[in-house]
Amino acid sequence: MSLAALLTIVTGAAVTALLSLSGIVIGVPLGLLLALVRWARLSFLNAFVTVFVSLVRSTPIVTLVLFVFFVLPTLGLEVDPVPAAVATLAVNTSAFNCEIWRGALMDFPREQRDAARAFGMTRAMTFWRIVFPQVWRRSLPALVNEMTTLLKATPAVAVIGIVEVTRAASRIGAATYDPLPPFAVATVLYTLVVLIFVQGQRRVERHMAIKYGYQT
């Protein structure tokens, strides 16, 4: 395998990492927003979010990205592959993140909220000062789990023509008639990126244990 081929795969890995990262950056807050809609029990929106989350959670990313890429243009919204991929990953992960945030919100002790209200805090203030600082620490391990899942599902966007790591590897394999070396390189790169994520999670958890004095 030539140096150029190696560079192609490394670039593909960078594309994969960037796409996943963009999906995460949009999907985590979006998930929180969805969870808040369900937590606040806004009647109409609540039902909508419930169905949305259930549908998205059971749709494969391959199917979802094809849906986004081909259906949006029929509604008059032309999308390039990269924005379509980022939107798909963000929507997908937001549905899973919604359930994670919601779980933490549901378990939040009622007394604390009542106490905050008794001190005259508004609902928004209660959320930002009391609820959120505890809920995000509680949700973090599950959120990072979901991030690694998303990272591993990102190759699905190859189906709309994005040259991410697996597609780069399979192209080189097809050109050289020797597919195993590029696949091996891609596997090693992938494992490295996932390891970095998991290590990052461990560090953050240790840091939180020191800073807040308890394991969340």
């Binding site: 549908l55 094809l66 259906v71 597919p179």
Partner: protein, 219 residues
């Protein structure tokens, strides 16, 4: 409306896709659960070397993306002389990938079992296969049912990757209809609904197993 009509005309494609998805998941799940259970034994009871090697294998499969594994099986294995048709390559990929996950699921359920039951089983003269067959495996099976259900749902969704190696499953059918008739909404919406239905079925199944487990505990 046009799209719905075309999908109706091409319904055989979707029926075949659905059957392929179901058959792949069913066969792969049955084999992966069996292999996972067998593989969990050395992960829990093996010596230090066996445990470490087992963990290495499990961790490897857990950090490789499914599509990359499918590529390795479908495009990579022919270079070492093993050429599989797409469906079989897909099945092999599903089995390899999920056996590792199942082993990990069973291992963690097993380690969380109360030790007393196994001790009591030993005291009553259960040993070797009998101990596994009557005491350990039934408890592991009930305790891990919800997580196995989750894994089944992940398997259903992973089959969509297999359209990339040309397995004619649900998403392949939807994409085929869209590519030939340029009506994206109806075929992909149908695909989403089919996956949703399959996932709901699995969730109902898990719910029933959970109810049975609860009834057993309170019996």
């Amino acid at each position: 409306m046009n799209g719905v009509l075309i999908v109706w005309e091409q319904r055989q494609l979707f029926v075949n896709g659905l059957l392929n998805t179901i058959s792949l998941v069913t066969v792969a799940a049955a084999v992966a659960i069996l292999f996972g259970a067998l593989f969990a034994v050395p992960l829990v009871n093996g010596g230090k070397v066996a445990r470490r090697a087992g963990r290495g294998v499990v961790d490897f499969f857990r950090s490789v993306p499914f599509l990359l594994l499918a590529y390795i099986v479908y495009y990579g294995l022919p270079t070492v002389g093993l050429r599989l048709p797409a469906w079989w390559a897909g099945l092999l990929t599903l089995i390899l990938y999920n056996s590792a996950y199942m082993a990990e699921i069973f291992r963690s359920a097993w380690l969380n079992l109360p030790q007393e039951q196994t001790e009591t089983g030993r005291a009553f003269g259960f040993a070797g296969m009998g101990l596994y067959r009557w005491i350990i495996f039934p408890q592991v099976a009930l305790a891990s049912a919800p997580v196995v259900g989750n894994q089944l749902i992940i398997m259903i969704k992973d089959t969509a990757f297999l359209m990339i190696i040309t397995v004619p499953e649900i998403t392949f059918a939807a994409n085929f209809v869209n590519a030939n008739y340029f009506v994206p909404f109806a075929p992909f919406a149908l695909a989403v609904l089919l996956y949703w239905g399959l996932c709901v079925l699995v969730e109902l199944g898990v719910h029933r197993v959970g109810a049975a487990a609860a009834a057993r505990r309170h019996a």
